[in-house]
């Protein structure tokens, strides 16, 4: 009868691994010898020079909140927390500083074997089990609801699209990510742009788009330390101009390095934000069909309608016209500036999208890539990280008047994005057609185009934003040159992003400033120093923000939002944060617990090990009022005239809770939406339904 081979136990294998590695070393480990050879019990207690090798068994303990929790050191597994594993890996303190790598005098243990030992420790260092007997998984104990303390509360809806959180005195407003804005927000922004365009009819109205752009043409600062300061002021002034039309408007930023732009082969990515690309609305498609002469065929009409219906996007007019000519097959159109059908189409495109601009040829360099043609490359996330790691202002933002040097942010990516979005017009010159390919017809690029970008565009004699200008066929897009750049609306999100990067860098380098802080930034009266603190201009940067109005009328014990869609573009956030807006003084102290995607959560819902528990906040109670009527009323949002007393301590305040870890994990596991549940917990660890008042809750994603 064949004998069954007794499989080696896992502990036996651990010993074997360690003994093989230790070989013939005589190290005695501070007197305890080969500590792994004396049984599991002694191994679990073994310590070398006071350093315990196996992390203690996680204990079931009561937390202050009365919940059962499992404590593992620093959140990692028992194996990973064990000094034996650190020692075998040669990590501190076994990195040669305090002790050499384990085992002493022998050879290193392979990563696979270390993993085996670590797993064995994770499983509680069993003495006599075998590799194949391991049961993964731990049974979870369902917690039964004891009682329902509050009645069902309806899910609260998000604020109307495009409406931002009400801004209270001293509260920063949010400049968001252009690509994370929804249609309604974009429409409001577009309407504001259209309003400024419309003011161009009054050439002396300072508010007009052209006059705003003219400020850049006449005063802009590049290639030295005023670059960032000047543009921060410029963006603010323009934002104020927009807000005069619609006070909810904040200028968005274009984060060029998001994955959809495929920075490593940017000509194959989005190229520019979709919201700034050309498209036809159905209404404009009909107008266009009616306006073309000769009239398109039925099939061509159908193709135009389909193009509008699908909101097909084109990065530039040249791409659009080639589509019309070659794909739709409507060939009664030429690149001539005075071609009536072409003008008709440009009119339709302009009417369809206020952010589209015809004198913009992004990523077009006569058939070459920007790398080949201009010797600059589209910025990647890694590039930006490198630039953010620079540790002095000159290298980051530019040198002083005695050292008029480019900073990296200014020189590239900023210059590159100008060149990228400006591009080169493939139909510059006369007598060409919209045949499929135009590379042969394109003029060669000069080797130093990148450096000479500011002298490449003609500004003199133009009537910006006039129809004739829009129909023209210049050699380069307007973004190519500082003189004309801001006539193209894509200037703004690019520069807002430059400002955002400075804002980020300032947090990393709080004391790094330009040299000449007292210099005036013409044409305004700001000094460079005035621009250092972006908060002075009332904004911060968030990727996207969702506001849920609640209302201050009645206390609320539990807040459940409608599920908030989080699209893919938003998901790469650095931080997710829930803010409670305008919370008045509370009489009693409380915790506010946040759960995501667990609408049924209540005071008994477990916190530890619950992937839906996102964090908590504690608010210190103010105590009962001992005064007469009105003594503890919240003060009015804005102080009375001539009330110069310091801020009232009963002024409502905002609170924020970091929910990054929980949100990121839920989204990574496939949740496309986040639903917020806030539970107010009183000092007795029961829900307190009659305490918290607030104006609203917001979910914010930060870059």
């Amino acid at each position: 009868m064949p004998t069954r081979k007794t499989p080696i136990t896992r502990y036996g294998r651990v010993r074997k691994i360690l003994n093989e590695a230790a070989a013939d070393s005589t190290a005695d480990y501070g007197g305890i010898g080969r500590f792994w050879d004396h049984g599991v019990k002694r191994l679990k207690e073994a310590a070398i020079h006071g350093v315990r090798l196996i992390a203690p068994e996680p204990e079931q303990t009561k937390t202050c909140c009365g919940h059962t929790t499992t404590t593992a050191p620093s959140g990692c597994s028992r194996g990973a927390a064990s000094m034996l594993v650190h020692g075998l890996k040669g990590e501190a303190p076994f990195d040669g500083s305090r002790f050499p790598r384990l085992p002493w005098g022998g050879k290193a243990v392979s990563p696979e074997d270390i993993e085996f030992i670590s797993n064995w420790i994770d499983d509680g260092c069993p003495e006599d089990d075998h590799s194949h007997t391991i049961e993964p998984g731990i049974q979870r104990r369902e917690t039964l609801p004891v009682r329902l303390s509050v009645h069902e509360i309806a899910e609260l809806d998000l604020a109307a699209k495009g409406v931002r959180a009400p801004s209270r005195p001293g509260e920063l407003r949010q400049r968001g990510n252009l690509d994370c804005m929804d249609e309604e927000e974009l429409k409001r922004l577009g309407d504001a742009f259209r309003y400024l365009y419309s003011l161009n009819d009054w050439p002396e109205d300072i508010r007009s788009y052209n006059n705003q752009a003219l400020i850049h043409q006449n005063h802009c600062q590049h290639g030295w330390e005023r670059f960032l300061a000047w543009h921060r002021a410029y963006l603010y002034e323009f934002e104020q101009d927009l807000q005069d039309y619609d006070s909810d408007i904040m200028v968005p930023y274009w984060d060029w390095v998001m994955p959809q732009y495929r920075p490593d082969c940017a000509q194959d990515g989005w190229i520019i934000p979709k919201s700034f690309q050309a498209f036809l609305t159905p209404e404009q498609a009909e107008k266009l069909i009616a306006g073309l002469n000769p009239s398109p065929s039925a099939a061509q009409k159908q193709a135009f309608r389909q193009l509008a219906g699908q909101k097909q996007l084109f990065t530039s007019q040249s791409v659009f016209f080639r589509y019309v000519y070659n794909t739709i097959g409507y060939r009664h159109v030429t690149p001539q500036a005075d071609d009536a059908n072409r003008q008709c189409m440009i009119d339709a495109l302009l009417a369809s999208n206020p952010f589209w601009y015809p004198l913009r040829f992004p990523a077009e360099y006569g058939g070459k890539t920007i790398n080949e043609a201009i010797h600059y490359h589209y910025p990647s996330a890694n590039d930006i990280q490198q630039i953010l790691s620079l540790n002095n202002f000159r290298d980051f933002g530019g040198g002083s008047i005695y050292d008029a040097s480019f900073g990296f942010l200014d020189q590239n990516p900023h210059n590159t994005m100008h060149i990228w979005t400006g591009g080169m017009n493939p139909y510059y010159g006369d007598g060409k057609s919209y045949e499929e390919s135009c590379t042969s017809a394109c003029p060669p690029v000069q080797n130093n185009t990148g450096e000479r970008r500011n002298s490449m565009v003609r500004a003199g004699g133009r009537r910006f934003h006039s129809r004739s200008d829009m129909y023209s066929q210049p050699q380069y897009g307007d973004m190519f040159s500082n003189l004309t750049a801001s006539y193209d609306p894509v200037f703004w999100p690019i520069h807002v992003n430059v400002d955002r990067l400075w804002w980020e860098w300032q947090r990393l380098n709080p004391s790094a400033t330009p040299v000449e802080l007292d210099a005036i930034l013409s044409p305004w009266n700001y000094t460079v120093r005035d621009t250092l603190d972006a908060a002075r201009f009332g904004y911060e940067y968030v990727r996207s923000s969702h506001f849920i109005p609640v209302g201050l009328n009645a206390p609320i014990g539990r807040i459940i939002s409608k599920p908030i869609p989080v699209n893919e573009l938003t998901q790469g956030f650095r931080k997710a944060e829930i803010r409670l807006h305008w919370v008045p003084q509370l009489i009693r102290s409380c915790f506010i617990r946040v759960f995501l995607n667990q609408p049924g959560a209540d005071a008994k819902t477990p916190l530890q090990g619950n992937p839906h528990f996102a964090g908590y906040l504690s608010i210190f109670g103010h105590g009962a009022c001992y005064g007469g009527p009105g003594h503890c009323d919240a003060p009015p949002p804005r102080a009375r005239d001539y009330d110069h007393r310091t801020r009232n301590h009963n002024t409502p305040r905002n609170h924020r809770i970091d929910v990054t870890g929980c949100a990121r994990k839920l989204l990574a596991d496939g949740a496309g939406k986040l639903q917020i549940t806030l539970i107010v917990i009183g000092a007795d660890y029961e829900e307190d339904v009659d305490l918290l008042k607030l104006e609203g809750v917001s979910l914010n994603f930060l870059d």
Binding site: S25, T26, A27, D28, Y29, G30, G31, H49, G50, P73, S74, A92, P93, S97, R98, F99, P100, W104, G105, G223, N371, E372, I374, H375, Y376, H377, P379, S380, N382, D383, I384, Q385, Q386, I387, S389, L390, N391, N392, R394, D395, G398, G399, Y402, D403, S405, F406, G407, F408, D410, Q411, N412, P413, N415, N448, E451
Partner: protein, 764 residues
């Protein structure tokens, strides 16, 4: 993402009067310098396994070769978080560009501000000079002309590889130099820079020339060890910056990126005894400083209760660092130093001084490391409870117990006892003898109630930062806090003996030359290796630098001097060079941006300027160098260095006055040595003699030293004595001797066949 850093953070160059001969600074503790060719490329041994160590410290004309401070760029990235040397041709990235490294531009700015700075007066000024503190050359109104400012120099690794800090200003800078006719020696250069074939930078300092601009009868003359109006020397220091030039295939263009932060070059006088460590090295001073002030190793020194999970404090976040500094900081009492790595090198050192001075022999060899000695490493290195494998049948015989003076006590414990610790009293005795914080002025503790050491002088018995005046008296040297801490752990038995643990081989480990001799593995080891050969005290003013180096305000981070970047960095930003499409051969150094002369004052908030470290040192350096042999310290009263019994006709005080002749820093300034006089049967013949004989300990002698410093001999380990690394010193056994003294026929130690002995193979 990759970061680029220059190492060493502080490099040490040394003057020499040879205008052509030079060698490379040692990069390991107590190491000999490395030999190199005329372009600065290190010479390798025949089997290419390591550097060729210097055998001749002087050129064929008998002039001292200069020591080059070598700097190189290290890259830190995910692959090598502790850094590796960057090589031409490597992939590099930065500023949003990536490419292949095709060149490194180096920018160095050396200056000498000694003659316009404050007069050195012991510890005055350590925390800022008072406005009334006198300046050197106070009568000179044009202060700017007192600064030797040759301007910055920039070179690359390809076609422009040398530059000189001479009077030319390189054609673009209006240099400031003292008059040409200084006596006895004029100064026309502060040195030069060059790149070797691997793109590393070499900084060579001055030629050791010092002179006075005063004329007339009796001039030039010297009347002070540190301050002499009219005098200049060619010592200098200043920032070192590097710019990487890469060719980017991505865009077909050249792109530039600067390294993270400048390094610093310091020029000092020659190291005549390269293989003997000072009692406290500059590395030890800085390591202690960074532990205590910069949270450098929070597992060793940190917040009470945090040692199980040490914190990481971002050192450039002033708020976080201040918060940490304000918390309850302490040493980790569970920390176990290693005996041979950490403890023994400290205890080993003082015995070496017997080869540099008569004093230890005259004191009957108090640091004896032989079997009968107080410093026998076999005994004092044995951990409690350790059972020797080949036990000596006789138990440990003698132990000295400080609390009982020199009395002998026998061990009482049985040797099988787990707590068997026969040598605890020996360790405790040595530790008790050490001077602690607050005992800087105590010669011995006899007048203290409860004195732990009876009637024995405290150690180290070397001069302190101020044994001269009555202001902030610091008579004697004491070990750093870190050193005292680990010695306390050791005394209490909290230590590891690497031989007991089989980490090192007890037969081959060089117990009697206990310094790592393998090349630095990373940038930090290079930082520390270089600094370990510089003097860490006393600072009066010191060897290379003075007490300014222990001021936390001058550091940007550990091992990196905070630089005024308007002076240290390339005048044109790297981004601008990108915009200009500049080829690496064009080294743009427009001088129009230098709108202010080098400052007469410090601005630690902005950073240090060229010359700001060495300006504290003596001018000319030869005066202080000559005088720093011994100092007669008045030990009558702890708080007073000078007393005046004559003023009160105090006969009692006159009678009771006590003095102690105390050594300064013999490893930097030897007193006596065995001098090689010839060979007999292939063996060296030596004579014990005064090292700088003929140069008196007077101001006239100081002036002689200005002329004759380069004639002195270099003291090296005797290459003819076998096994001196593994056998203890037996007193005056000739294991060091002086070579190449001027007039001795340039006797160099070994003949060529014996080079293997002078370059012992340390690979064990």
């Amino acid at each position: 993402m990759a970061t680029y850093k220059i190492h060493p953070g502080i490099g040490i160059a040394r003057v020499g009067n040879s205008d052509t001969g030079f060698y490379l600074a040692p990069e390991v503790p107590a190491g000999l310098p490395h030999a190199c060719d005329a372009a600065g490329n290190p010479l390798l041994t025949d089997d290419l396994s390591g550097p060729v160590l210097v055998k001749n410290f002087k050129d064929k004309n008998g002039r001292i070769k200069r020591q080059a401070a070598r700097f190189q760029v290290f890259v830190y990235d995910d692959e090598t978080p502790h850094g590796r040397p960057l090589k031409l041709g490597d992939a590099v990235e930065g500023g949003g560009n990536r490419g292949k490294l095709i060149d490194i531009q180096w920018r160095v700015y050396l200056a000498n501000k000694k003659s316009s700075w404050y007069e050195f007066n012991t510890r005055s000024g350590e925390h800022g000079y008072a406005a009334i503190h006198p300046r050197r050359n106070a009568a000179v109104e044009n202060r700017d002309r007192l600064v030797i400012d040759p301007g910055p120099r920039t070179i690359n690794s390809t076609d422009s590889r040398r530059a000189s800090f001479d009077r030319s200003g390189n054609g673009v800078y209006a240099a400031t130099f003292p008059p040409q006719d200084l006596k006895p020696h004029g100064i026309d250069t502060l040195g030069e820079i060059m790149t070797d074939d691997s793109g590393r930078l070499l900084v060579l300092g001055g030629l050791g020339r010092s002179g006075s601009e005063k004329t007339g009868p009796g001039e030039p003359h010297i009347s002070h060890y540190a301050n002499n109006d009219g005098w200049y020397d060619d010592i200098s220091d200043g920032p070192v910056m590097a710019r990487l030039a890469m060719y980017s295939d991505q865009v077909g263009a050249i792109r530039y990126i600067d390294v993270e932060y400048p390094a610093w070059a310091v020029v000092a006088y020659p190291r005549f005894v390269p293989q003997i460590h000072d009692m406290i090295t500059m590395d030890e001073v800085l390591y202690d400083l960074f532990l205590r002030e910069f949270a450098y190793d929070t597992g060793l020194y940190g917040r009470l209760g945090s040692f199980a999970c040490p914190e990481t404090i971002p050192v450039r976040n002033q708020t976080a660092l201040s918060q940490w500094l304000a918390s309850r900081l302490t040493w980790n009492k569970d920390f176990k130093p290693w005996f041979y790595r950490d403890i023994w090198p400290i205890l080993f050192r003082p015995n070496e001084f017997l080869y540099l001075s008569d004093i230890l022999a005259q004191s009957n060899f108090p640091h004896d490391q032989e079997q009968r000695g107080t410093f026998d490493p076999v005994k004092i290195g044995q951990t409690p409870g350790y059972k020797p494998k080949h036990a000596d049948p006789k138990p440990a015989d003698i132990c000295r117990d400080a609390s009982l003076g020199e009395a002998f006590t026998a061990t009482s414990q049985h040797r099988d006892d787990q707590s068997h610790d026969p040598y605890r009293p020996m360790r405790q005795f040595l530790f008790d003898l050490l001077r602690r914080s607050g005992e800087d002025n105590e010669f011995k503790l006899e007048d203290k109630v409860g004195s732990r050491v009876h009637n024995l002088p405290l150690m180290p018995l070397l001069c302190g930062d101020n044994p001269l005046t009555n202001e902030v008296v610091t008579k004697f040297l004491r070990l750093t806090d870190y050193q005292l801490f680990i010695l306390k752990q050791w005394a209490e038995g909290q230590f590891i003996n690497e031989m007991e643990q089989d980490w090192i081989n007890c037969k081959t480990y060089p117990v009697f030359f206990p310094y790592p001799q393998t090349p630095p593995k990373n940038g930090r080891e290079l930082d520390r290796g270089v600094l370990s050969n510089a003097l860490g005290g006393a600072f009066c003013p010191g060897g290379e630098l003075n007490w300014i180096i222990r001021n936390p305000s001058i550091y940007w981070e550990p091992y990196r001097i905070k630089a005024d970047r308007s002076l240290s960095d390339f005048l044109q930003s790297a981004a601008q060079a990108n915009a200009n499409r500049q080829p690496p051969s064009v080294i743009e150094e427009l001088s129009f941006s230098v709108n202010n002369p080098l400052s007469q004052d410090n601005d630690f908030a902005t950073g240090l300027q060229p010359g700001d470290l060495t300006k504290y040192m003596a001018v000319p350096w030869q005066a202080d160098f000559n005088e720093c042999t011994t100092n007669t310290i008045n030990i009558t009263y702890a708080d007073w260095n000078t007393i005046n019994p004559g003023g009160d006709n105090d006969q009692r005080l006159k009678r009771e006055e006590k003095m102690w002749d105390t050594l300064w820093w013999p490893a930097h300034r030897p007193l006596q040595s065995s001098e090689l006089t010839g060979f007999n049967n292939g063996q060296p013949v030596t004579t014990w003699t005064d090292w700088s004989r003929g140069i008196q300990q007077t101001y006239a002698g100081d002036l002689k030293m200005v002329e004759d410093w380069w004639k002195l001999g270099f003291i090296i380990r005797n290459p003819y004595m076998p096994n001196i690394d593994i056998t203890p010193s037996t007193g005056p056994d000739g294991r060091y001797y002086s070579i190449e003294r001027y007039g001795s026929g340039h006797l160099t130690a070994p003949d060529p066949q014996l080079s293997a002995i002078i370059n012992p193979d340390k690979k064990t």
